[in-house]
Symmetry: C2
DNA sequence: CCGCTGATTTAAGTCAACTTAAAATTTCCT
DNA sequence: AGGAAATTTTAAGTTGACTTAAATCAGCGG
């Protein structure tokens, strides 16, 4: 009649921070600032300040006071374990449970900190070892390897450039829902038509139909440029 | 980039208590004592004493000081919601994820307090609206109905009585593992051969083979007695 | 290079859910 | 019924993860 006491009733808060720091520093090489973390985690900067000191003491982050934090090798290892779990869960929620790609994020977030390795492995196997999440983000391997991304922002290429939708970088449910209502999905062919000036709308040819997106939303769309594309990417992929 | 803040970093402790109280009072009509709860939850009786007062203030339990607690109607409703979630999760873990029946309990326990109604409904649907968990316990309906059990303890029938294994009431992984290693599974035909005196071993014919079990373990096996059984049940089903 | 602004850190307090130790209550035994 | 033993409750302290308010620091504009 006895089970595991489920002793720690509080969820490992460190994982929350590690995870947030990873998201904030992903790609760009800068440190995550206290304020940015506070915003991301929805708590005050004072709280963050205290907590990151504890993380630093545990060797999970490198802390430069009044500067910000970066993950240490160990911190990064942990972050990638969580990211892997998160993304596999997202695929699981979509492929097995039948949720839409806009319904996965908070659920995966809640689940990722209670499942164990065996659970992760079963999902991975059932799903056929997926390599990316429903939004196109690559899934780190168990030992923390992450495929380098070759995609670029839709808004970073010359008008006329065509490619394939590789990734969507927003987590926002409403935005994702709207995008799929436009018929947008991974691996669809897309061609940038025009970017209106002064933060104007972005026109793109999506699988034959022309859609118009606000600049912020367009920015979250990543594409792999076709080999024979007419225009060239203006800059490298970001975040 | 923002998600739900996952604000309450602490898991709803009340659910833990409700759940434990249900398990302790299931079947028998007595109140759950402070000590029993403390044992079940792995905390001190002092802590339980404080907490159940809070639960009482919330109208979830009826508290008689120095006596114990019983669930109120509302408390029972909540307990049954958790139990339902738990048992559906167990089926899910076995049927979809491929875990053994001894590997489900702690995992379902961890998961049951982070999934939402939609998740529960998807599982229920995918599983074809199962009516019992892998250990044979009935699954409450969404509105808290629970099928009355008609099974009795294997150790409560006259030697010679035959029936079908309906349920196993232990949660212990090792015990469950051992039972399945003996070839025991739900719905198998079984016949009580003999109960040795002085808390002696219990001999049973299990699907043709005779197995010998310690009295405690045998006690956790429930059977539905065959209509044409030679012996009659000695007492009603318990716990 | 002085001072102001905004970001960051420290200090001190809160809250839930515990803990240990002591006090109160019930139960059991003769 | 009387008193020891067991159980339960109260009191007071601890812990983790916050909070608000005050103090400190970086960085730049003039």
């Amino acid at each position: 009649m006895s089970d595991l006491p489920i002793k720690p009733l509080r969820i490992d808060a460190a994982a929350n921070y590690i995870d947030a720091i990873y998201r904030l520093t992903e790609g760009r090489d800068e440190a995550a600032t206290t304020n940015a973390l506070a915003e991301e985690l929805g708590i005050t900067s004072a709280g963050v300040s205290i907590m990151i000191k504890r993380l630093a003491a545990q060797g999970l982050v490198d802390l430069t006071p009044y500067e910000g934090v970066k993950l240490t090798a160990e911190g990064l290892r942990r972050a990638l374990r969580i990211i892997r779990r998160h993304r596999i869960l997202e695929i699981f929620l979509v492929n097995i449970l039948g949720f839409g790609w806009h319904e996965t994020h908070p659920r995966a977030r809640a689940l990722e900190r209670v499942i164990d390795d065996a659970f992760e492995d079963r999902m991975d196997e059932i799903l056929g070892h997926p390599t990316r999440c429903p939004h196109g983000n690559p899934i780190p391997t168990r030992d923390g390897q992450l495929l380098p991304l070759t995609d670029v922002a839709l808004t970073s290429v010359e008008p006329g450039t065509s490619g394939t939708i590789s990734r969507v970088t927003t987590d926002d449910a409403d935005e994702l829902k709207y995008l799929s209502s436009l018929g947008l999905a991974l691996d669809l062919p897309v061609r940038l038509v025009e970017i209106a000036p002064f933060d104007g709308p972005v026109a793109a040819d999506l699988n034959g139909r022309t859609v118009h997106l606000g600049p912020r939303l367009a920015d979250s769309i990543r594409i792999n440029v076709h080999e024979n594309a007419r225009g060239a990417a203006r800059r490298e992929a970001a975040g």
